[in-house]
Each structure stands twice: as structure tokens, then as C-alpha cells.
Assembly symmetry: C2
Homo-oligomer: 497 residues x 2
């Protein structure tokens, strides 16, 4: 069995325990580790690193694809291993340490991290720690359920530790398309021209002599944490279906729409699943994470192809998909996140991006990351890569949070991740605001009319009208602009009754 | 002479007066007009439109490349012709009308406007009004000193009015490279792979039957309004030279650097000119507007090639350049702004973008457009296209404004055009902050130490330290975050002594 997964016999000698591999990691190192939206993460070595640090303290810079499963970020935080962390995370314990200023978190567009490594603005990486489904006869690495930044980590690192995960289906081999953009300024166009373009290798080509250790594991990916559809997400989905139908009627889209991207999380996943109820067909995805919704659309016969950088599923969906993986495999490809999220490809294909806002302001500027403008939730992730370059940039959110005490639409967002230039459509359960080709005052009226929850509408309208009376292209009352957040910090609610 | 400029004899019958051409424009039309940073704008028809509107009121949506010369935006505003205006402007009278809410201004990334037209999300254009140096035998249009959006306006419009400008040098013919990306989702890569790639036609290919009228003019472009270098801009340039030298020493750049972009205006122009004093050679530009600095670098023997979308010069520089244009022509190309500013090409080439901030906050979020967060100056222009996709995104500003009463670095910017993710380097006359791979708290310390003016440093440091004590990834005191602007609105100064 091991010989099927490690097909280069000389490498069998490299098999060690997780503890032995973890001992290679020294204080001050820069580590590139696999893992993207909980999928395909290294599962044994980082946990052994955390264990070792309890008796032998050391600190590292940890770079991943995106978020990790298996409480790895929690364990590494508790063991005080993380000095610096980039480009994304989604762990409660790590988040707290970041917000205390104990871990320096560099929140980056997911397409960019590898550019910085390649141009030596970041790095060099001492060890890449990557999960693999197999190592080929030539010593090349076959990734598992995510690619993320792992391919470039392995190619650019001084040394590599591979975790061969026996619980990852051997049929994953052939799923991946590993392409590296060239160095600049002599780079040529990235040849991806359709969602199903295959332009690279089905493995990560490396020098096998760089493999310092191999650890054999047998543990599944952590399940996704998305919640089922509810009345609000269903309402958001039906507003969006009606909008797309209207665009088809106006001749701007056909029923296959444009390639779709949906951000990670419950709302975007539910909205995508909801598209199965529309008249659309032969849909394609060019996205970063493929969630349950992707396979719901496949099973509904609506989806022709899906390109992503990871597959992150609920336990039930994972059982269904991996039991019958051959059915899906020829309609899937996993790419490095630099390619799944590349501005060049997103703009070329004309992707429709559907991302979730934490909150937004009356002019359509979006905060995706910072509670009260100060406290990091997860990170910007790939939302900027897609929103900036999309054919249509759509943001979805429920209009209320915290049992109705907070409005997701506020006078001014205290942190901006996406400026109004990059936000075309906003959808809440109340309705849809089409902001294309509108000036800020017009955008505000459209958002106030369609998206705001009735319990906050009068107060927001009052703010907007009083600001307009004072003037400006983007009217604001600076002394009142952040008062909703200040009030909520003090009292727990934005209602000022 | 006219026959040299209008080389398709049948079109000579289309010559009319500016008044006759202006009479074609009807109330409610969408007009696409040439003009990018005062260069190559239509000079006669819009002025005749303004004159006509005084007795025969009508309103239009006016789309251009960028800003216009010849007070056209002022005259059209005063004549109340403008209902809607996009994607950029730089006129005092129009700005006032925008800030009063009288003209709806849609401030767009300069690369995007044509995408919206091509996908029918905007338009259709009733008339394109474009300046030309000539019309060819086949009836194709040779642009003058800018391309901007004119090529797509002409191709996509129902009808075209051409202004043949005899004062534009005939040698401009051959300077342009007109390429149109295909429709999505079947678009192929844009084949520009170096600054000097030529991938299209040297003219705008149109159906000559669409030419409704030709107006002959003989008036030069408005001169640029840039001011000469001063001690502050020289200091900014020398900080930047030292930084580039350091990057060369670290092996991250060589002495040819990467293709350079500089935003319009005095500071970016001065900084670019200042590079002539460094050890760099065979520099290349991939920019939007080519200003005096481009030709200063050519004359200093430092610049090998410059790609732009317009040439906007001071009177003295224009005389020098156009007297000897053959000397420069083979080292120059003008492209549609969609291509000069295209994310795909900027990212591929690895452009170093140098843009001007109106103000920025202690974490490096940049406001390029809105005074006090409310009043529009000019627009975001191309700065977002470059900053997001650059190899290095550099923002320059003087640390003080209004005779020292305002700090250009503030606790929180009340309007964000460029988020911290898109801002790598900040330079003021005081010094340079290298923000790459730093977390927000580290970014703040770097900016406070190097860029802030001493007269505001203690107050900003106090804000930052008190915010850190309260916690957060990006610490802020919401009740104080905008107080500097509120104080300045009331008293004219951010000093609170």
C-alpha cells in the first residue's frame, strides 16, 4: 500500500515519525504549509511541532494557502509557535492572539503571496510541509484535496517534508493542474482561457533530493462548517435568480451565465445551491473553494465544469462525493491559488463573483474583515482578487446581525476591504441593489430602498438626507459617521431608541 | 493639406462646421468623447454644444478617457449639458457641480469603462466625438496625442463625429497600437508581453459609413499644469532612489528596474524626473500618461522605451518634443487605456507603480480622491489599476498640506481608494516606509517613524499607542478616528494646541 503512494523506492527511506520531522523545524524559520479552506492541510507535523514547543520553545513565520483544519492554528497559537502568520486564517484562538497583537498577521490577497516569494520580497522558505496523495516514480508530488500555495512552496523551499495521507483517495491523482507563471518582466500570458483549460502538470515537479522527510498519516480533512439554507439565504438566492433572469432577458447574459465564483461560507454556498432552482444550465465555476454547493449543482445537472483550488465539504457531502469520485473527476480541476485567483484569468473569463460582506455602507463600500473596524475575523482572502476583476461583482449579506441588534448596512464602514468601485450588486434578504453606472448618491438611494432592514431604514435615510444637505460627491456627517459602531460597542446595539 | 489628412475623398463631403456637428447631439444621448489627461480631446464640437445649449437646453451622459483640456468640462457644466459624467474629470467648475449633487459623476477604474460598454452594461453610445490626426484611405481613424477610450467609442458608437486637428503633427501616424480584447467568456490572452509589444493596428478600424460629420480644427492641446520640482519632491525622489539602489543590492531588482508607471501630477512627475540622478539605465515605462518626465528621462539617456495612453506636456516640453518627434517616435507607443491600464498586462510585466496620495492613514490605507471624505477632487483614475497589480505599489505625498495646517497622514482616512493590501511603499519628504510583509501595527510604526511630519508625530503616536492599548488587529479609537478632519473642517487646521 505504501509503495503505491510512494512510488519512488529510494524515498521509502525518508519515512519518519511526525515528531522526527517536527524536530527539523528550528526557531526563526519560515515555513510554507499546505492547506486551503481546511482541505489538504498537513495534519501530523504541525501538531508534533506544537507538542515539541511546549518543552522546547521556538517561533516561526507560517505561510499557508488559506485556513487550516484540525485545530492546527489553535494548537500552534497555544504553544506560542507563531511569530508571524499569512495570508489567511479562520481560527478563534489565533484570531484572539492576532487582535491582542501577539501574532503578527499579514492579511493578503490570496493570489499575491507567491508573487512575493518568487520575487524574493518574502522568504526564502526553509521548509515546505505539504500533504500529498502520492509521490510519483520521478519523485514528484501529487497534492490531495487542495493545491493552495503548496506547489510553489515545494518548488521554492530549501527542503520539503511530505505528509502522505492514506485517507485521501488515490483517485485524486490526475485532478490537479499545476502551472507556474514565469519570472517578471519576461513572463508570458497564463494560457488558461476556459474553466476547463489544462495548462500544466498533474503533479508538483520537484527535485526529490529536496525531500527531507516523509510522514505517513491516515486522517480525513476537517469537515466544512457551513450551515444549511435558511429563509434569509433562500430569499437572497431568489433575488439573485430574478436578477440573472432579467439580465438574460436584456441580452447581457445567456442561460449559461458567466463562470461563477462563490466565497467560502454559509451564505455564498446557499446562494449558489439556490441557483439550481433557476432556469440556468451548463453553468461553469471558476472559483477558489469548491463547497457542497458545487456538488449540489452537479447532482442537479446544472453544472458542466468546476475549477477551484480546494474541495471543502460537509461530512455527508464528502461521503457522497468520494464514494463516486470518478463521476465528478472529469468535470473538475484544482489549480494553485495563484491561478484560481489570478486577476489575468478572472478578468479574461469574465467571472461573476459572489462574496460575503461583514457589513457595508450606504455607498456600497464593503468591510469583509474587521469587527468595529479594529478586530480581525478571518482575512480578505480571495474576495479582492475576484471583486476587482469580475464581470459582475456581487456581495451578499443578511441585513441584520446579532439578533437584529446590528444593521449590516451602516452610514460609514470603519474598515474598507472593497471600495465602491468594485461592488456592482448588493443582495440582502430584503432585496437587490443594482449599483452599476450609478453615482454615490444614487447608489445610496438604491441600497436604502432595496437592501436595508426596515428597522434601520428611517435612521439611515435620515443620516443620508442630512449628509446630502451638507453636500459632497459622497455626503457624510463625519461627527456621526461612526456613531452607530460606537453606540454598539457601548450598548451592544445600533438601535438608539 | 486637407487631402493629406482626410485621405478618403468621399469623406471630404462630410466636412461641416462645429455648430452643424453639435446640432446632431440630442437631449438624453450618451456621448463618448476623446481626451485623456488634456491630450487629444475634441476641441470644437463640445464648445459648440455648450453654446447651443444656452438657447436650446439639452442634457447628455458624457464619457471620456479621462480629463479634458480647453475648459470643455467647465463650459459644458456652465451650460448645464452634463447630466452624467464618467470616468474621470479634473475641472474646478465641474467638481463643484458634482459636489453639489447637480452632475452625477461615476468615478471608475480607467481600465473598466470600456468593459462595461462592450458587455452592454453601459451604453449604447449614440455619438463618438473623437479628435484625429488623419483619416486613412480606407476610412480608418488615426488618433492624435491620446488614445484613451476613443478607439472603443468609435467602434461601439452608432455614429462618429471626427475632429481633424491640423495642429497635431502628421508624424503622430504610426505611433498608436490599437488592440481590442475579445468578448467574454471566449477572450484570449492580451498578447502584450513587453513595454514595446505591438499587437494591433496603427489606426482605429471603423466602418467609414458611420462617420456622420467631420470638423476641421487647428488648435493645440492644453498644456499640462504640472509645477517644477521643489525641495520636497526632490527629497521624495532621493529617498526612492536610495530604496531602489538597496533593492538592487539585495538582488531583487537590477539597474533597469521594472517597467515604471507614474500617476499624473506634479509629485509623481518630479519623482520620475529625479530618477535621472540615480545609477539606473535602460529604464522602461508602462504607464498611462507620458508627462515631461518621460522626455526628460529620454533626453538624459536613461529611458529605453515608453508605453502610454497619452502624451501631456508643458508648453516648453511640447515644443522641444514635437520639433524633433522622429527622435522619440520609435521609442514610444500609445495604447487604448484599457490596455495601458489592464490588470493582466500590469501584473504580467511587473510594473512599479508610483501614484500620489491625497492623504493616508497610519496603517497605509490611501485616500486619493475625497477631501474630508466627502468632496471629490478628480477621481481614482488609473491608480487602482496599477496599485492592485503592481510588482511594487508606491505612494508619494508631501507630509503636510495647506501651509502645514493639515497632516497628510491621519489616524483614519475618511475615504479609502486603496486598501493597505495594495500599498507597499510610502514616501514623503521625511523618508520612506517599506510596508511589505508587515502586519498593521508594524506598518503604523514604520510610517510614524519615517513619513510623518515632526509637527504631527507626537499626536499620531499618542493616538496609535492609546488605540493599541484597546486592542485589535488594526487598532483604532472610533470616537477619535475622524476627529482630525472634524477639527480641520471647523478651524482650518489639524493642530489642536
Amino acid at each position: 500500500m505504501i509503495a503505491d503512494r510512494i512510488r519512488r523506492p529510494a524515498l521509502l527511506d525518508k519515512i519518519v515519525s511526525a515528531e522526527e520531522a517536527a524536530a527539523l523545524i528550528k526557531d526563526g524559520m519560515i515555513i510554507g504549509m499546505s492547506g486551503f479552506t481546511r482541505a489538504g492541510d498537513a495534519k501530523a507535523v504541525p501538531i508534533a511541532m506544537a507538542a515539541r514547543a511546549r518543552t522546547e520553545p521556538f517561533k516561526i513565520t507560517l505561510i499557508t494557502g488559506a485556513s487550516l483544519g484540525h485545530d492546527v492554528d489553535r494548537m500552534l497559537t497555544e504553544a506560542k509557535v507563531l511569530a508571524r502568520r499569512m495570508p489567511f486564517q479562520a481560527d478563534r484562538t489565533l484570531r484572539t492572539a492576532i487582535n491582542r497583537g501577539e501574532v503578527m498577521f499579514i492579511d493578503q490577497h490570496l493570489s499575491e503571496t507567491v508573487e512575493h516569494l518568487r520575487s524574493n520580497q518574502l522568504g526564502p522558505i526553509d521548509y515546505a510541509i505539504v500533504e500529498a496523495a502520492a509521490i510519483t516514480e520521478e519523485g514528484n508530488i501529487v497534492p490531495s484535496t487542495s493545491v493552495g500555495n503548496s506547489a510553489s512552496f515545494a518548488v521554492l523551499a530549501k527542503k520539503i517534508i511530505v505528509e502522505i495521507n492514506l485517507s485521501q483517495p488515490a483517485e485524486l491523482e490526475g485532478l490537479h493542474d499545476i502551472y507556474f507563471p514565469g519570472k517578471r518582466p519576461t513572463r508570458v500570458p497564463i494560457p488558461v482561457v476556459t474553466c476547463d483549460s489544462r495548462v500544466g502538470f498533474p503533479f508538483v515537479p520537484i527535485d526529490p533530493d529536496k525531500i527531507a522527510a516523509i510522514v505517513v498519516t491516515d486522517e480525513k480533512d476537517s469537515a466544512s462548517t457551513i450551515e444549511p439554507q435558511d429563509a434569509d439565504t433562500s430569499a437572497i438566492a431568489s433575488h439573485l435568480i430574478r436578477f440573472f433572469e432579467d439580465e438574460v432577458e436584456k441580452g447581457r447574459l445567456d442561460l449559461t451565465l458567466q463562470p461563477l465564483q462563490a466565497g467560502i461560507g454559509t451564505i455564498a454556498n446557499s446562494v449558489l445551491t439556490g441557483l439550481a432552482d433557476g432556469p440556468f444550465h451548463h453553468l461553469r465555476m471558476y472559483s477558489e473553494v469548491l463547497q457542497d454547493s458545487t456538488f449540489d449543482l452537479f447532482d442537479a445537472g446544472k453544472l458542466a465544469f468546476a475549477s477551484g483550488s480546494s474541495i471543502t465539504l460537509s461530512t455527508a457531502c464528502a461521503e457522497r462525493v468520494f464514494a463516486d469520485f470518478h463521476k465528478y473527476k472529469e468535470h473538475l480541476v484544482l489549480r494553485p491559488q495563484e491561478i484560481s485567483n489570478h486577476p489575468e484569468v478572472i478578468r479574461r473569463l469574465g467571472v461573476i463573483g459572489i462574496n460575503t460582506a461583514l457589513e457595508l455602507d450606504i455607498y456600497g463600500n464593503v468591510n469583509s474583515t474587521h469587527v468595529n473596524g479594529t478586530h480581525m475575523m478571518n482575512g480578505i482572502g480571495g474576495s479582492g482578487d475576484f471583486a476587482r476583476n469580475a464581470f459582475l461583482s456581487i456581495f451578499v449579506t443578511k441585513s441584520l446581525a446579532k439578533d437584529g441588534k446590528l444593521s449590516s448596512i451602516v452610514p460609514m464602514v470603519p474598515h474598507v476591504d472593497h471600495t465602491e468601485h468594485d461592488v456592482d450588486i448588493i443582495v440582502t434578504e430584503n432585496g437587490l441593489a443594482d449599483l452599476r453606472e450609478l453615482a454615490p448618491r444614487e447608489r445610496a438611494r438604491e441600497i436604502l430602498r432595496n437592501c436595508v432592514h426596515p428597522s434601520f431604514r428611517d435612521a439611515l435615510m435620515s443620516y443620508f438626507e442630512r449628509a446630502c444637505a451638507r453636500g459632497g460627491h459622497t455626503p457624510h456627517l463625519l461627527e456621526e459617521a461612526l456613531s452607530w459602531h460606537i453606540h454598539a460597542q457601548a450598548t451592544g446595539t445600533m438601535h438608539k431608541s
